[in-house]
Symmetry: C2
Subunit: 413 residues, 2 copies
C-alpha cells in the first residue's frame, strides 16, 4: 500500500502550527483574523510550490486541485479548515488540511491514475466565528441568504473579510457546485473526545454527526444608578441572564443525556461597576444526535428564557442563528475506511461525532466519511489539545488509501 | 441675597452637555476617553476666558482659582466632576462643576471680599472608570499607592491618560494638600434617587454618604469543546459566576435592607459559542451606610463566592479594589444650607446619599456639605437622567449663598 511522506508531512504541519501562535502556545486564528489570513497565505503558497492548480471560490475556500485525465470526471474532495476558535489547539482542522495536501502530493508522485479529480480544500469559517461551516455548506448548496445576512458572529467582520479577499458576501452562494460534479468527500480530524484515547484505538470511523443550533438571548431591563436604586426597584438584566444560564444547563443535563448546551459568552451593557446592567446578551449553542431533540431543546430554551425574564420583570428577545441538522456518514465509505485500517494493522471502531465538521455539509449531497485519530485526554478547543504524531501519520495513511479506494463508494454518473 | 447669572449658567451647561454625546442622547465621558478630554479642555478654556487662575495638579484635577486679598488664607473648594459613566446623563457631575464656575464668577463680579480663597475644581475620575474619587481623595490625602497600582478599571488607560496629560501615576499622591490649607468643601449634585422628586422638595441637605467597596471575582474552570465534552465532565466557569450573582443579590436584598450590591459586568474567556468558558470575571460593587455592614457584606461575599465555586468544582480568586468608608456631613454646613434655602423660599429636607461623591474625600479632613436637587423619577447613570432647569438654578443659588456664608462653618487656623 502507498504511504505518505512522513518528513514532508511533519515539516508542513509544523510550519502551519507556527502561524497565529499566542504567548501561552494556543492557536488564535478566528476567521479573517491576521493569523487566519496568514494561514490561508501559507496554503496558497504551498499549493503553488507543489505544482497544483490553485483556486479561490466565491466563499473564499482555498482549493488545491489535481486533475485526472478525464476532464468530465467528478471530483473527490478531501479537506478541513485552517480557522480556529480563539486560543485553540494546533490539530483541530489544520491536521486535515495538511493531510489532504500530503495525499494529493503522494498520489501525484506515485503516478497512480484515478477515475476522479482530487481537491484538497481549506474551508472558510468552519468554527463559526461568523456562521459556522460557512465555506463547506456554500459549496454543498446548503447555505442560505439569511445565514449570511444574520451571522451569529460579527457582521462587519464578515463583510470586511470578504472585501479584503476581493470577494463579496452577495456572491458567496454562487460557490455552490452541481452535486453530480462531486464524487465524494473524506475528512481526517482529531476526535476531540476521549474515547479513542482511553480505549487505545488508533482510528475512529464516524457514523453520524450531531446537529447544532445556536442563538443569542437578550435580556432587557433598565440602567440605573447602582447606589441610589433600591434592590427591589431594579430591572437587572444580569439576574435574568444568570437564572437562564443555570436553569437551561440543568434542564439539558437532566433531561437530555445524549445532548449538550453551552453558555459560551455573556455581554453586559453598559458594563460598569456602578450601573445596573440594562442589557445582557447570552450566546447559546446546543447539540443533539436527532433532529427531534434539537427541536425539543429549542422549545425548552424558549420556555426557560421567558420564565427567567418574567421572574425579574425583564423583556427577552431570542435570535436563532442557523442550524446544522444531524447527518449519517455513508455506510460504503465507512466500510472502506474499516478495510483500509485493517490492512494497515490499525485498530478501529465506529463512533458518533459530538463536534461539527465540514463533512456535515457534504453528507447531505454525496458519499461522505470521516476518519478520527485519538486526542490525548479528549481535550480540544484549548492550547492543551494534543495528539501523538504517530497517530497523525496513521490517520493520513488511512485517508490516502481511502482516497485510492474511491471506486468502492464514489458516485460516478 | 446675591443670585447667579441664569443665562450664562444655562449657556455653559448647554455647551458642556454637547461634549461626548452619543447618538441616543447619552453622555459618554469615561475617564480619559476622548469625550472626557474634550470636557476638560472646555473647563480650561472657560476658566482662562473668565480671568481666573488655571491650574492642573498632579492628580490631573482642573482648578479655577479666585484669590482673596490675604495670601495666607485657606481655600474653600467647590466642585464636582466632568467624567461620566458609559452612556450616562448630562447632569451627574457636570451640574456641580458648571455651578462652581458660575459661583466664582458671580462672587468676582459682585466685588464681595471673602476671608478665604475660592477654587472651582473638576476632579479626575469620580465615577470609578479607573479608581473612583481618584482626584478628590488624592487632594484630601486619602488615596493609596495600592489603589493606583491595582485600579478596579484598566491600568493601561490610567497610565496612558496621565502620560497624555504630561503627568505620571508615580506623582499623583503629591497632589495632597495640607489639611489646614483647606477651609471647607461644598458640592452641588443631582440626587440620583426619587425622594425629592416624589416629595416635591427643591433642596436636599446630605447628612451622610454610604460607604462603597468593589471587587472583581474570577471563577476558573477549564476550556473544553462544547460539543464533545459531556455536561457532567465540564468545569464551566459560567455556572459558578451565575450562581454567585443570583445568590449574592438575594442575600443582600433579604439580609441588608439599607444596603445594595451590583453585578455590573461579567467577562467570559475565551468567549466563543463553541468553547466551555474557562474563566469568568465578575465586577461587583456594594454599598452600606455603616462601616460594620460593609465588613459583614464583604465576609458574606467571600462565603458565597467560595460556595458557588465549590458547587461547580471551580477555583475562585477575589481581588478587592479599594474602599471608600461612609462619612458624615458637617452639622454646621448642614444648618447653613438649611438657612440659605429658607431665605430663598425653598423647601428642603435632610437625607442620606446612596451615591458616592467627591465630598466623601473632603468630609474626612474638613467641614464639608452637599446640596441635592431633584432627579426626575430618580433615574440616573442613564440617558434618561433629567432635572428641571428651575431646580438647577435654585441649587446653584443655594451653593452661591452657602459659599458666601462660609464664616459660619469654615476652619480658619
Amino acid at each position: 500500500m502507498l504511504s505518505i511522506n512522513r518528513e514532508r508531512f511533519k515539516e508542513n504541519f509544523s510550519a502551519l502550527a507556527n502561524i497565529g501562535v499566542m504567548r501561552e502556545g494556543g492557536i488564535n486564528r478566528p476567521t479573517f483574523s491576521n493569523g487566519h489570513f496568514k494561514a490561508r497565505e501559507w496554503f496558497k503558497q504551498k499549493t503553488i510550490d507543489a505544482g497544483f492548480k490553485f483556486k479561490v471560490d466565491n466563499a473564499g475556500n482555498h482549493i488545491a486541485r489535481f486533475n485526472c485525465p478525464s476532464s468530465t470526471s467528478p471530483v473527490l474532495i478531501i479537506g478541513s479548515h485552517l480557522d480556529s476558535v480563539p486560543n485553540g489547539g494546533k490539530y483541530d482542522g489544520a491536521l486535515g488540511v495538511v493531510a489532504a495536501l500530503e495525499v494529493l502530493q503522494t498520489v501525484k508522485d506515485s503516478g497512480v491514475i484515478l477515475p476522479y479529480h482530487l481537491e484538497a480544500i481549506d474551508f472558510t469559517d468552519e468554527e463559526g466565528t461568523l456562521v459556522g461551516l460557512l465555506g463547506s455548506s456554500a459549496v454543498a448548496g446548503k447555505l442560505s441568504e439569511m445565514e449570511i445576512a444574520n451571522p451569529r458572529g460579527n457582521q462587519d467582520v464578515l463583510v470586511d473579510g470578504y472585501t479584503k479577499l476581493g470577494l463579496s458576501p452577495s456572491t458567496i452562494l454562487t460557490s455552490k457546485r452541481a452535486p453530480e460534479s462531486i464524487a465524494g468527500y473524506i475528512e481526517l480530524h482529531i476526535e476531540q473526545g476521549k474515547i479513542l484515547y482511553e480505549e487505545n484505538i488508533q482510528v475512529g470511523i464516524v457514523t453520524k454527526i450531531v446537529g447544532i443550533n445556536s442563538c443569542s438571548v437578550t435580556f432587557l431591563g433598565r440602567a440605573d444608578h447602582a447606589g441610589t436604586t433600591k434592590m427591589e426597584d431594579r430591572l437587572d438584566a444580569s439576574q435574568g441572564a444568570s437564572s437562564f444560564g443555570l436553569t437551561l444547563f440543568n434542564r439539558i443535563k437532566n433531561n437530555y443525556p445524549a445532548c449538550v448546551v453551552n453558555i459560551g459568552k455573556m455581554v453586559f451593557h453598559p458594563g460598569a461597576f456602578n450601573i445596573v446592567p440594562e442589557k445582557v446578551v447570552v450566546s447559546v449553542e446546543f447539540r443533539a444526535p436527532e433532529s427531534r431533540q434539537l427541536d425539543e431543546i429549542k422549545f425548552d430554551l424558549i420556555t426557560v428564557a421567558k420564565e427567567s425574564a418574567k421572574a425579574y420583570n425583564l423583556k427577552v428577545e431570542i435570535n436563532f442563528l442557523g442550524k446544522h441538522p444531524p447527518v449519517i456518514m455513508d455506510p460504503r465509505v465507512r466500510s472502506t475506511i474499516k478495510r483500509v485500517a485493517d490492512s494497515l494493522g490499525l485498530k478501529s471502531r465506529e463512533m458518533p461525532s459530538g463536534a461539527g465538521h465540514d463533512s456535515q455539509s457534504f453528507a447531505r449531497i454525496c458519499p461522505s466519511g470521516m476518519i478520527f485519530i485519538p486526542s490525548k485526554g479528549g481535550i480540544s478547543h484549548s492550547p492543551k489539545e494534543f495528539s501523538y504524531w504517530k497517530d497523525c501519520v496513521n490517520g493520513a495513511n488511512v485517508l490516502l488509501n481511502t482516497v485510492l479506494q474511491g471506486a468502492d463508494y464514489v458516485q460516478l454518473y
